[in-house]
Every structure is written in structure tokens, then in C-alpha cells.
């Protein structure tokens, strides 16, 4: 190796991307956990991808803005569908989400089967790797995150209902492209899981997320391991450590 990989210009954009993703995913993840709809992010990401594939299957050019638009439209429609399901079959919402996930994933395969486009590129269009993040392209993500957080913090009935699904679809479509599905799932669930009994839940969750990304990026640079995967393991390690450190409520309080 000819250059220390502990280089801010390499790790900096990835760190910023991680912080932007955490900003929205920590509060959204706590809500996901509260509602018990853990796999909703995988379903939404898959639907966004299906939207892009469907657009391509109709013969439209899908790059840049057009791809983003079809991803958002599909994710929004998926979010509305999931909201409708929550209202109708509340007790089986998790199962419905699972079904939607496999339908979206296999729907992509079926759409691509009659399409001479190989499909590998299309499938990966919406899956980012955190190390490839370019600082200049982070601005749209910053604006969307700020928008989501603003609406979220205003609270109200809308945010507790259909608003949650719409904000979630918007956030996940952006974050999956920045950091990939594994990190999106980990950023949603692990901080929320670690902080579920904590007194200052939201703050604890942000600390877990921040520590996870920071140590993950550092270890990835030191041991030259794939960055996203290391961060997932570090998030898990910090979630366990923080959870063990915090005084647990007695069982009667839970």
C-alpha cells in the first residue's frame, strides 16, 4: 500500500452520507420498530427498483432524473398500498409487507425476462455503495432529509398515518441509492433496537448510529475491508454494547 487509506478525502463523503442517512432513519426506524413492520424498507426499496425496471420495459430511457422520478413514483404508490393494507389487515401487516417484497423482486425478474436488456445494471441502478458517494451529489439527499425531518418533527395525525408511509418511501428511495440496502436496514433497525428501553431513546439511537458508522469507516480503512459490510457489523456491536450498558426497565414496566 502506498498511501494511508485513513484519508479524509476518501472517508469524508462516506461519513457525510452516513450522517445524512442516520438523520432520518433513526426516528423512522424507531417508528418502524414500534409498528413491528421491520422489513418495510426492503419492500419499499424493491418497489422503487421495480418502478425503474418497469419504466425501462416500456422502452423509456432510464438514467438520471427519469430513473429518480420512476423510483419515487413507484415507491410512493407502494407506500400508499402498504398504508391501505395497514388499515385493512392491521394484524397481518408484516406478512403483507413480506409478500409485497417478493412480488416486487420477482416482478422485476418477470419484466426483465422479455426484455433484451440484461438487467444487471437496472437492478443495481438503485443500490449504492457508501464509498462511491460523491460529496457534490449529496445535496439532493440533504434537502430531502431536511424536508422529511421537518415534516416529521411537526408531528400531528397525518404523520402518524399515511404521512409516515410517504416520508418513509421518500427517505428510503434516497438512502438506498447512497449506501445500499444492507446499510439502510441496519441504520433503521439497530439504533432503534438498542434504544428501545432507553430513557432518552432518540439521543441513544443517534449515538449508536454515529458510533457504528465512525468505527465501521475506520476499521474498513485500517483493514481494507468492504466498507458497507463492516459498518453493519459495527452498528450491531455498538447496539449490543449500548443495550447492555443501559439500565433496563423491569419486566413489569415493559
Amino acid at each position: 500500500m502506498t498511501l494511508s487509506t485513513l484519508d479524509w478525502s476518501i472517508l469524508g463523503p462516506a461519513t457525510l452520507a452516513g450522517l445524512i442517512v442516520l438523520a432520518t432513519h433513526v426516528p423512522l426506524g424507531r417508528e418502524v420498530l414500534r409498528r413491528g413492520i421491520i422489513f418495510i424498507d426492503l419492500a419499499v426499496a424493491q418497489i422503487a427498483g421495480l418502478g425503474v425496471i418497469a419504466t425501462a420495459a416500456m422502452g423509456w430511457e432510464v438514467h438520471g432524473f427519469a430513473a429518480q422520478l420512476s423510483a419515487f413514483v413507484a415507491a410512493t404508490m407502494g407506500a400508499l398500498l402498504l398504508y391501505a393494507c395497514e388499515r385493512r389487515f392491521k394484524e397481518s401487516q408484516e406478512a403483507v409487507i413480506g409478500v409485497v417484497f417478493v412480488l416486487a423482486a420477482t416482478g422485476g425478474i418477470l419484466l426483465l425476462a422479455n426484455n433484451p436488456r440484461g438487467g444487471e445494471e437496472l437492478k443495481d441502478l438503485l443500490v449504492g455503495q457508501i464509498l462511491w458517494v460523491d460529496a457534490h451529489t449529496l445535496w439532493p439527499a440533504v434537502l430531502i432529509s431536511a424536508f422529511v425531518l421537518t415534516i416529521w418533527s411537526m408531528g400531528g395525525r397525518w404523520v402518524k398515518g399515511v404521512g409516515f408511509y410517504l416520508l418513509f418511501a421518500l427517505s428510503v428511495t434516497v438512502s438506498v441509492q447512497l449506501v445500499g440496502v444492507f446499510l439502510v436496514f441496519a441504520s433503521l433497525i439497530l439504533p432503534a433496537l438498542a434504544s428501545r428501553h432507553a430513557r432518552h431513546g432518540l439521543a441513544t439511537a443517534y449515538v449508536v448510529g454515529g458510533l457504528g458508522y465512525a468505527t465501521g469507516l475506520l476499521l474498513s480503512a485500517i483493514f481494507d475491508l468492504p466498507t458497507g459490510a463492516v459498518i453493519v457489523w459495527c452498528l450491531t456491536a455498538w447496539a449490543v454494547i449500548i443495550d447492555l450498558m443501559l439500565p433496563h426497565k423491569s419486566l413489569s414496566e415493559v
Binding site: T2, S4, P116, R117, L131, W132, D134, D224, P226, T227
Partner: protein, 300 residues
Amino acid sequence: MKSPVSVLALAAWLLSAPALADLKVFACEPEWAALAGELGGARVEAVAAVTGAQDVHYIQARPSLIARVRNADLVVCTGADLEVAWLPLLLRQANNPRVQPGQTGFLAAADFVTLLEIPVAVDRAGGDIHPFGNPHIQTDPRNILPVAVELSARLGAIDPDGAAEYARLLEDFRVRWQQALERWQARAAALAGMEVVVHHNSWIYMNAWLGLDQLGSLEAKPGVPPSAGHLAALLAQIGSHNPRAIVRAAYQSARPSEWLSGRAGIPALVLPHTVGAVEGADDLFAVYEVMLDRLEGVAP
């Protein structure tokens, strides 16, 4: 952060690793790293982004990849969109003006050989038919020399002090490669006309070189699981022909070719597609030696 002392120790360890090479070559694929090693000798330090056991279409982003491209004097890749999923991102992140496409420090091997399967018309409605042709050029050893000539010229242009040495190494390599080509050509005669089935359509240059006849491909469309109809058609096609092997690369899943092997009673065969892909394929010469050995093993 760690303590300052351990960071310093780490930096010292990282900096102590490089050889005393003048010129740093970053190759996307092992075959070009090996070629740079042949042509640069001790003046060149060449590393490859993937190993022979990995799929070059995809790559997991690691910090050292960016650091290496940032520090490279020359980037050698196959091109023709083989690395399109990650190389543009890597070049952008590395932000090294010397190795951007169009510069002396960026060499796309596919620009210097004749590509096959170039579509006559790129029709958007027809989908993503590859506009540049099939990029798997290194499976034909006759494609190596033109790339070697260009690579050697680039080394000399970037490191003029070593130009004489690079010219000598190129001449040495050219002689050895020509001799090997003649040896291989003699062995190829026995394989001409042999029928094969492939996993992924990445062997057409080898087929052209050895005169193999590709009956079909397990993947009708890359990345999409084969349909029942496609496999049935393939089996029917095999029934009326006499293919000797189902060829795949080391990084590809064994399952589809083992499945077909069991049905059709034809051996599944892993061929080296690059340096380090299979045991024994330790340098450029050995890749084609092993390729021929294994094909001769199933030949009639």
C-alpha cells in the same frame, strides 16, 4: 479515533509496504496486472482490482481501491464497458487527473484489439444490446500482444528514464509470446470444430482462436435466471449435437452447469479466464496452457 501514536505506527506500516518501484500500475483485471509485470519488470509495481476468483462485473468498494487509483501512474482496464458498474465511480472518487480516460495514464485494452459481437444497430427499443461488442477479449492469447505493445509505449511515455528497459522487456516478451502462440496453435488443431456449451457468453474470443463451436449459453440473458423453455431448447439442441463440455469461469456458480451436466451427461468444465482463476494458472502463459490442457482432457 485511536491514539496519535497508534495512528502514526499504522501510517508508518502502510508506507513501508511499497516496493522501490518507480511506476505504479492499477489494473482492473489480473491479466493486465500480469502483463504490466512482464513489461515493466522491477520498475513497475502492478496491482489488480479483482482476483482471478472474482467477478469483474461487480466489485465491493474498499478504501484501498480509491487510494491506489489516486496514487497510480497508469490505469489499465479492459474497457468496452466491462467495468462500467464501478470504474467510472472509482475514477471519480480517486480524482487523479493523470489516469482519466483520454489521458496517457489510462489504457483501455479493448481499444487495441478487434472486438466481436458489435451490434449492427443499437436500437433503444431493443434494449441494452452492448454497443461496443463483447468485452471478454483476454480469452484469446492473440489479443495480448497488441495490448502489450501499447502498454509498453505508455510505460515509456510516463517513465522516460526506463524507456530503453521497457523496450527490451517488450521485445523479450514478444519473442516468448510468439513461440508460445505457435506451440498453442499446434495443439489447437486437434480441438477445432469441437462443440461446447457455455454458462455466460464470455468465451467467444477463445472459441474464435481454437475454432470451437458454441452450441448455446446457459444464461439466455445475463443475470436473469434461465426459463424452463430456454433450458428445454438447450437440452434439445444438445441431443442432436455432440458437445464435449459445459464451460464456465471460476467465479460463476457451479449449479447451472452441474444441472445441465447431469441431464445431458456432458462434463462441466472450469476454464481459467485470467491469471489466478484456477490452480496452476499462475502467470499469463500458464492461463492458456491450463485452458488447453483442460479442453484436451474432454476432447474426442
